[in-house]
């Protein structure tokens, strides 16, 4: 027997029309190279309506891919709605990709038009000739003085000449593609994740729930996390749905600029990767950040000490959110719960350093990488985290390269290894491919790195496996020392000795200038493994496994 409820699809046009009708007086501020611009959501909505007909005029096909090569701006937000509300697919291009990856992605997605912030022209223009599917490049003038290539169109001229779309946007099927984003995997070509209207809308709704971001009409939100990075964690769509004000940081992503925006616009919610908050920490005392109620941190594991520094200086710790491009991205949130109230502040900091509890409608299980058996949530057993849910990918665009990342019963293999407690609080210990198997037992490289990074003289550390005749694999610690400090391998080992099992102690410590990063700022252990391929431990290993 079927329910007798209306067959109303969950689509982004609802988000647009809701914002346009009820939140017209709310604002989107954008910081530009030459000052700030501000528009109301009413004005913004009018521009989205013009942009909708511009896409027709440019001849973008009914479900054509619309590339964006842009910073976080109000105009990027226009593209965020105009493309999917007219049935097109928003394709956010990562401006930090390597040139050959960028060309590959544009070609693979068959982008028909690419919108480019003027300040980014120097990055993409040299590659334009290789982008065979792109019929038109459109420049969004952000105040930079980069030369505009011959034949590239001007965004504002197109909008000024366009008739606004006059009706209600309709997307009939909620499973229609709304947006896509490529993951810059550490192996092989980037893979395309294709979000549907349904997934985008449900994910947005989660950002409004009390134990997630709790976005409300009263919030002023500054998404530091790029709009080309997994939909900026759902903040743009979430804000439109809730009616929050938005502050967009534009091209100037320096910590100083972000801190100034947070203070000046009395921002209540912001989100970004640890690197941003690390960089901003020294200057938080110079700004009034008392309006902030939540600093979301994700993209890579949140250092406990960083979160604690924010708690003691700004007054609120970092709130960890975890996910990946394939999970839209919000999968877990580390909001402390009522049973944590009885803990000490120090114990709560440990909880906040966890990745947190799955948000509603995300199912999760821990699977042993060897046996394939589902592990208990006992805070001890580790397993690969597998996820399922309505905003989690089932395959990659054109089915390429990622079949191995999905299980036979349709769950996503996240590639992360972790534990979960009985309250659902997940704690990551490693990436499956970074796990070090020593004498038949797993060593968590991320856990080991966290312990090394707790040393006051250590800026960064990455741990990789090196071959061992006796134990198959053993850990090598690659350590970046803080500027002006000195450190010896012996000091590192001495520091670790009371903190980890004896057989976890690295066989060697190498000092490096920095940990190589991927285009989205994650540790590239692949690069380190290449660098230290065939590494030989000098002298007998003093810390053999038990």
């Amino acid at each position: 027997m079927l329910g007798l409820m209306q067959d109303r699809p969950l689509t982004l046009p609802h988000v647009f029309h809701r914002a346009e009708q009820y939140f017209a007086r709310k604002t989107v501020v954008t910081a530009q190279t030459d000052g700030e611009t501000s528009m109301t959501i009413g004005e913004w909505a009018g521009r989205v309506r013009r942009l909708a007909t511009v896409l027709d005029t440019l001849g973008v096909s009914a479900d054509g891919r619309v590339g964006t090569f842009c910073w976080n701006t109000g105009r990027h937000l226009e593209l965020y709605l105009a493309a999917p509300c007219t049935g097109r697919v928003l394709h956010t291009l990562n401006i930090r990709l390597f040139p050959e990856q960028l060309v590959y992605i544009v070609d693979h997605a068959e982008d028909e038009v690419v919108f480019v912030d003027r300040s980014l022209i120097p990055v993409i223009a040299p590659l334009a000739d290789k982008m065979g599917t792109v019929r038109r490049f459109v420049v969004i003038d952000d105040g930079a003085d980069a030369a505009i290539p011959e034949g590239w169109l001007d965004y504002e001229e197109l909008l000024a000449a366009a008739e606004p779309f006059g009706g209600t946007f309709v997307v009939e099927d909620e499973n229609t593609a709304a947006a896509m984003c490529y993951t810059s995997g550490t192996t092989g070509n980037p893979k395309g994740v294709v979000y549907s209207h349904r997934s985008a809308v449900l994910h947005s709704l989660i950002t409004l729930t009390a134990d997630a971001f709790a976005l409300s009409e009263r919030d002023v939100v500054l998404p530091v996390v790029p709009m080309f990075h997994a939909n900026s964690w759902g903040l743009p769509y979430g804000c439109l749905l809730a009616g929050s004000d938005l502050v967009m940081p534009g091209p100037n992503m320096t910590p100083q600029a972000i801190a100034s925006l947070l203070a000046r616009h009395r921002v209540t919610v912001t989100g970004g990767v640890p690197t941003i908050w690390m960089g901003m920490l020294p200057m938080v005392g110079d700004h009034d950040l008392s309006h902030l109620r939540m600093i979301v941190c994700g993209g890579s594991a949140v250092p406990r000490s960083l979160s604690e520094s924010y708690r003691t200086t700004v007054g609120i710790p970092l709130t960890q959110a975890w996910g990946m491009t394939e999970t839209s991205p919000i999968a877990t949130m580390s909001t402390p719960r009522s049973h944590h109230d009885a803990l000490t502040e120090d114990e709560r900091a440990d909880i906040r350093a966890r990745q947190g509890q799955p948000v509603p409608f995300v199912d999760m299980r821990l699977v042993d990488p060897d046996s394939g058996e589902v592990q208990p949530w006992d805070d001890a057993a580790t397993g690969e985290i597998q996820a399922a849910g309505p905003w989690i990918a089932k395959e990659y665009y054109r089915g390429e390269g990622g079949g191995a990342q999905y299980t036979e019963d349709g769950w996503l293999r996240t590639g992360d290894v972790g534990t979960g407690d009985r309250y659902g609080f997940v704690r990551l210990v490693d990436r499956t491919k970074d796990l070090i198997k020593s004498g038949g037992e797993w060593i968590g490289s991320v856990e080991l790195e966290n312990e090394i990074m707790a040393h006051p003289k250590v800026a960064e550390a990455a741990v990789i496996a090196i071959p061992s005749e006796k134990w198959v694999e053993r850990p090598l610690a690659c350590v970046v020392v803080k500027p002006g400090e000195t450190l010896t391998p012996e000091e590192v080992i001495e520091f670790l000795t009371p903190r980890v099992a004896k057989w976890w102690l690295p066989d060697a410590v190498e000092f490096i200038d920095e940990v190589p990063k991927t285009s989205v700022g994650k540790f590239s252990k692949k690069t380190l493994r290449e660098k230290f391929g065939g590494y030989q431990v000098a002298g007998p290993a003093s810390h053999e496994p038990a």
Copy 2:
């Protein structure tokens, strides 16, 4: 082009398994006639698993209707999940229905089994023989001493004898019926609204959003609104999804009992109809209600003065929510927004007396009852409120009796007439069928009633149309005077004169003992119209329309 997200249905099994896994330590307290019981969600989940197999043992068909004739209790909550998670349809029976309606509904829905709280046996047992589709009655012993009819089964005995269902509940299609509830319309037979898993789940998610109820794991929720009244406004499913503690009031619904529960269990969120809060007002000073953060009020228009009394005594006003059985029921919420902050407390009270802004995914329009034209949201133009959305009914069960309540393009005619401002705040002025058309102009009977009820000596007032040769219809005010007070028709008219347009002044005032109510406590104007059918105004109408 389709998105490539997992095809995971939005179903109640997710809500169940999430609560069971992550919130096992949370509690459901139930007040009974002989004290209180408390169980953890872990214990509750184990009982749901047993109940699931009990339904099999009782021979309930795969999509059979499972009737409940129960108060708000933890055991009713077991039925709330066990029925839909096994593919059956929960049918909550209104314990206050007239006997013939009850028999009609059970028969119409083809309930196969009915679960009855022992204290309610005297109400339903005399009708049992007429309920031909019901194979079994099951008694839930709530401590009352009502005699148990021959052949009726005992709930606890069935559970004790049952094996718990051991796996994961699966409902493949999110459009499968999950629950049904009949509307006690004021004309014709009751009509069945059939909720789907999708609608129940999406509606639950809305109760978690910051600008709606903002249900979180930290809340302790007491649903006063009956679980047989439009799913208790989504509170039970919402609490399970959020992980909130629940306090169930059981059979003792006296204001004294509710106030005591609110204080004793440090309840943070509660919800009920105005009558409850009216009754509780005299005793709020005797209880510590400082933990309450939200008192949701709905079911009928919230008197402004009542809300203000709560603001000045308890410290928080009533938060109005509006909807109907056909809308699951949450359609609008009157949470004040940032642009209201600049208003005076008095002006904000006016805002709170409005029905509020549509929640996400509810679309609304105002349609002129005469011309059928869509009206602007200018806070002045009135129209019938029509609603659309994924948790709004598209038709009644078996298509009966309600075709006229749905438009050709699939929207629900709510039967309410109102205005909306540019922020989406709806204000009801009347029911379409209660509107009084005088000399070609509409008079809003509800607006007129509200003005009369502002008189300090008036307890209740209802305004109905009486025939007029000259003006077609004119208003008659039916007024209930507060105990111990006296009032004349002239005093009522004098009080109204500065408050409404001259032609709105009633042609006559009749004093009655009480306003007749429907089985869900709403004004039954139908009864009043019957009573005053053919009413003749004594003497010349002194207040003729202009």
